[in-house]
Amino acid sequence: MANAPASTARATATTGAGEARKAAAGDAAARPGEPRRDRRSKRERQGAAWVFLSPWVLGASVLTLLPMAVSLYLSFTDYNLFDPPSWIGLRNYVQMFTEDPRLLRSVGNTLLYVLFAVPLQLALALTVAVALKSMRRGRNFYRSAFYAPSLLGASMSIALVWRAIFNDGGTVDNLLAGVGLDMGGWVNKPGWALLSVALLTVWQFGAPMVIFLAGLQQIPQDLYEAAAVDGAGRWRQFASITLPMLSPVLFFNLVLQTIQAFQVFTPAYAVSGGRGGPADSTLFYTLYLYDRGFTASHMGYASAMAWVLLVAIGIVTAVLFRTSRSWVFYANEEVR
């Protein structure tokens, strides 16, 4: 699981730059009368910073920036890992969107999954967080217990359990048969198999729930007291205080979970038996990327797929940030 503290990230990035500017101004002011020895120690400190940073600089350039550039180049080539790559221009991209029905299928599956799993997971997380906040005893116990699936859910073990529970003769099949819905297991039915993967994501609502709860606990209590004096009921308080005050956290969770959902792999692999079945209905984008690159050895094509994913995630994130201006409310911007 890669975590992306997005809203916080933006805030700290700007403070970081601000501090750096302030520091630079301080340096300039101090410089004229400053003894030479001090200036040298300042340069030494610069050097020290780069020593501390060197592993990160090496990793960021050799394992992040350079590979990104290389994969962009490879996306314009035909490359099978053994023969040198041959330049074919935009053909990979053209093929993706015009000649590859499986790819379009995988895009559709992934979008459907993201649109279903993320809102459901966040709605459940928010509901449970609000309920837990009003709880006086047992809150910490439930918070920990509900969080546990978020640590376990990414494992192959749980993915296999999921496949068994939603298989023919599994718990879900039996429960539904018990109420007269004899539909068999979900993992063999197109459409339902995707839903079972989405439910595994919903099962892991604990991580965003913990973040919601922490956000709820930071809302000043006197806001609610004032609203109660003014005669606002519970729903009114939720809509007019809780939701606006919590919107930065909601936004953070939304960005984080959406980016993660686009990259889901292990549960899709396990539930679909490693092939995206039945009838490509759980062929997620990442599963197809793995299939093209590492099973079929079309590294150029897989690189093009990776870049399309990168751009798609970038666009979705940008759109979320753009819309956030109209619904995310930063309290300290208004007041201070």
Binding site: G16, A48, A60, A145, M156, G169, T286, Y290
Partner: protein, 288 residues
């Protein structure tokens, strides 16, 4: 309020509160059911997996664990466990070292381009792994490191998990700067200050980093699937993968016995450090 009721009379039942607890318990049961099912099935005799709907087995089929211990394809469970452990501990060491070094520079030291570099570091947190996957594979292939543990461990020593750099930066920013000043007056350079003053105080963030790294590396499937292909290099995750396409439910007992084994370290870490893990997750969205 119940406090105002006259002594001797029974307190009125607080129905909303009861409903709240009942709801929480119901959620708990649904959440824990898959885990209970996993443990129960790992103890079920082969003929009971399908035939019996009861969660509890009629007898404890410990032979499932015996079969699981034999491992797969001639590799014992112990060796699979050892491989998973080697990779995970290597990743923990790498992340704790490299991320704390980078975090100290970002949190405490002044250098040109600090703002832009910090912003770039944050941006890489959101970068999908797939964008760098194939070139990284080519590099590790050229270096002859495919089918070794290096591709899982080496990147961690180069602070590629930017999330943890960010986590430690946030923590270090909360430490009083006076301590740094005091260390400087006592003659400590940046290195001395880091090792003697800052690092010891950063311990909670380092432990959080270590545990999350361990759990995520232990659970990781995609990277191991790509890089490890010979059975003697298999991890528990890869061994479990070989069960994915077997539809025969007679393999359920041993397969889920192995799954229990694979989840055990995570469950133990969770029980031991739940407070720290939950707080670490809660803070990731708020501080700053």
């Amino acid at each position: 309020m119940s406090a105002t009721t006259a002594a001797g009379r029974r307190r009125p039942v607080n129905w909303p509160r009861v409903a709240l607890h009942a709801g929480a318990l119901a959620v708990l049961v649904v959440l824990l059911y898959p885990l209970a099912w996993l443990v129960a099935t790992s103890f079920k005799p082969a003929d009971e997996v399908l035939a019996s709907l009861a969660l509890l087995p009629s007898r404890l089929a410990t032979e499932n664990y015996g079969t699981a211990a034999e491992g797969i394809e001639g590799v014992t469970l112990l060796q699979l466990f050892g491989n998973s452990l080697t990779i995970s501990l290597g990743a923990v060491l790498g992340n704790v070292l490299s991320c704390s070094l980078a975090a100290y520079a970002f949190a405490r030291l002044r250098f040109t381009m600090r703002g832009p570099l910090f912003a770039f570091m944050i941006a890489t947190i959101m970068l999908p792994h797939h964008a760098v996957l194939i070139p990284q594979y080519i590099v590790f292939n050229q270096l002859g490191m495919v089918n070794t543990f290096w591709p899982m461990v080496l990147p961690k020593f180069l602070a590629t998990d930017a999330f943890f750099v960010f986590l430690i930066v946030q923590f270090m920013r909360g430490l009083p700067r006076e301590l740094d000043e005091a260390a400087k007056i006592d003659g400590c350079g940046p290195f001395g200050t880091f090792v003697r003053v800052v690092l010891p105080l950063t311990r909670p963030a380092l432990i959080t980093t270590a545990i999350f790294t361990f759990i995520w590396t232990w659970n990781d499937f995609f990277t191991q699937l790509i890089y490890l292909f010979e059975p003697d290099k298999y991890t528990l995750t890869l061994a479990l993968r070989t069960f994915v396409d077997t539809s025969s439910q007679s393999a359920y007992g041993p397969m889920f016995a192995m799954s229990v084994f694979a989840l055990l370290p995570i469950v133990l870490f969770f029980l031991a450090f739940q407070r720290l893990l939950v707080e670490g997750m809660a803070n990731s969205g708020l501080k700053g």
